[in-house]
Point group: C2
Chain length 369, copies 2
């Protein structure tokens, strides 16, 4: 029964390679273009479908130039001007800021919601309720984030400390943000979970485009001015020339530093607690977690399982080839079988994949990265 929200626009930044998911995820086939949950759809398509009921066809994707065709294939609903292609990666402030600047020229009253392309969320209806509350709260002149109620003392995420409740019609759970806090150590993380007033920062922002640009201008004036200049040329014959000239000069910084944290310090940020499960599928341990095997003596298989044979083994196999894969007596194993690269590790070592990729880069094997 979800209805599209007036003036609400979804922005999907689709960046990042997902290095810890190499060799599945890589420069020319990043995380968001994979189906990592066995859902039958890629993560970016899942993101689109989760938000389409709220925004209809008012969706903009910001991604790298090399992913143009793949993203068009995944979201054929995208209008021409709503696929924003970055000539080079410039971090989240430039990506989200450019979307805000383009939308602001179309209609300064637009409220945009920015949701990364590579997250897994369920149940969808509870997520959508939180987004609605965020949009209603944003309409009162605030930048709104959706924080996730933590289920474990994760040390890999930043946290949001909730402040006082706000009294907003249609957004009964909205609170002030007391502060954004950096990724904690294990003890601090446990305190955050036990205390009950901290939420995971999932990088979801809902904001009036004008207010977002105001804060960007205050904190990153060069970035702001450059993005506004690109936006002014957007959709004109000068678009390409201006993009090519200005984009390379823009500073690289995260939206958290450029907008969210200073805006929170100014009292302009609210948070909606999200009581849904959320996973950024950061590594192969997450894939094992999100795709539990049917019983203990079975492997989780992503891809064609008909050619996978396992005995006394557990863990996850990602099969991107049509080869037979046989596993014997290996526990909590991670095997990723692609045409040009093979990874064998364990779920306990899932985080170390990043270092391996860096080592391969140094070693000169970047053709497979």
């Amino acid at each position: 029964m979800t209805q599209a929200l007036p003036n609400f626009y979804t922005v999907i930044p689709a960046g990042g390679v997902g290095t810890r998911l190499w060799p599945l995820s890589r420069a020319n086939a990043p995380k968001f273009l994979h189906d990592l949950t066995g859902a039958g759809t890629t993560l970016i398509r899942g993101t689109f479908e989760r938000l389409a009921p709220l925004t209809g066809d008012r969706v903009m994707v910001v991604t790298g130039e090399s992913h143009r065709d793949a993203v068009r294939e995944q979201i054929p609903e995208l209008a021409g001007g709503d696929l924003v292609l970055e000539p080079s990666p410039k971090d989240s402030a430039a990506a989200i800021g450019l979307a805000a600047a383009i939308l602001h020229r179309r209609d300064p009253e637009i409220i945009m919601g920015s949701f990364a392309a590579d997250q897994v969320i369920a149940p969808v209806d509870i997520f959508q309720e939180a987004v609605k509350e965020a949009a209603v709260t944003a309409a009162t002149g605030r930048i709104v984030t959706i924080g996730i109620k933590p289920t474990t003392p994760a040390t890999g995420f930043g946290y949001i400390r909730q402040g006082e409740a706000l009294s907003i019609d249609g957004a009964p759970h909205a609170c002030e943000v007391a502060e954004f806090v950096e990724k904690p150590g294990e003890q601090k993380a446990q305190e955050y979970v036990d205390g009950g007033s901290h939420l995971w920062n999932a990088g979801m922002f809902v904001a009036p485009v004008g207010l977002l640009l105001e804060h960007l201008k205050a904190n990153e004036p060069q970035l702001h001015d450059g993005l506004v200049e690109i936006a002014a040329a957007w959709g004109t014959e000068r678009q390409q020339e201006v993009m090519a000239r200005i984009w390379p000069t823009l500073p690289k910084t995260a939206i958290d530093y450029a907008v969210a944290e200073p805006a929170a310090a100014a009292g302009d940020v609210a948070v909606i607690p999200g009581h849904f499960t959320w996973d950024d599928v950061g590594d192969f341990a997450a894939i094992a977690r999100l795709n539990p095997a049917e019983d203990e003596d079975q492997m989780t298989v992503l891809g064609d399982s008909s050619r996978v044979y396992s005995d006394e083994s557990s863990g996850v196999v990602v099969s991107e080839t049509d080869r037979v894969v046989a596993l014997i007596g290996v526990r909590d194993i991670v095997v990723v079988d692609t045409d040009d690269a093979l990874l064998v590790t364990t779920t306990d070592h899932a985080q170390s994949v990043k270092q391996a990729v860096e080592a391969l880069q140094k070693k000169g094997d970047s053709d497979v990265l």
Copy 2:
């Protein structure tokens, strides 16, 4: 300074797939066609080169029809009639018996030595000395085996119990064989090693061809008569017709049962203790053992190591493709990367590879076996 022995003929039975070395070793690329020691030569070539100084070009290979070209490529020295091709596998009694029957027609005085194509032996000069003693002993009218001084209480081999020493000029270490004993349990195997009078049965036989055929006739008359009939047609225009007609009717049995054990019971078998290292490279644990890594934190790599990256890992990688292989945090791992099949197991589970192959056969994946 080794000299060729008069009347001595080397026979190399090259059969068996080496199922425990799947997917490296398989029906169309069996164990003996691989370089499993990093020596730079295949096992069958190594076998030939170990024996050539003793027999010159008097070498006969018995193998499956499908390996004709590969064996010719490995041993271009083979004369036309000395490559015996089996239309189907018939176990060792038929293979070795046919070689004996063919050689017997050429010259009843020939002493043949049968040495499997897929064994690893060092040092070669000590092996050659043992073969010479075996040939000298065989010339006194005995079937002679070379037994290996056991270094571990192996349960995967049969054993030979030494009897009284024989006094033979030129064969100072020759002994009677008291009996052949079956593969023992762990306790028995330990007793054999501790006792000092048991040797591993490595399946090496040196015998006058006439005596070998006599025992074969006594124990397996149908097999004997069939082989003699094939041998009579060998090298004539009838060879193919007779082979095609008789071979399929021959019983399948091992040379141990058909000749060695009954001959031992009759007091006709001697043994030369072999004080060399011997390995039948039965599984991937053997490959790890035969190819030790340079240090603890390195992998043994068979194949191109330049694309193998490992961190906090140990074990063996067999790389038959040009893919990058990355291993992180896996100990005693076995990874065998071939074009159409991938095996991931541990050295502890090396023996279980056979069951996996049987399961794949049942499952219908026999295209990769």
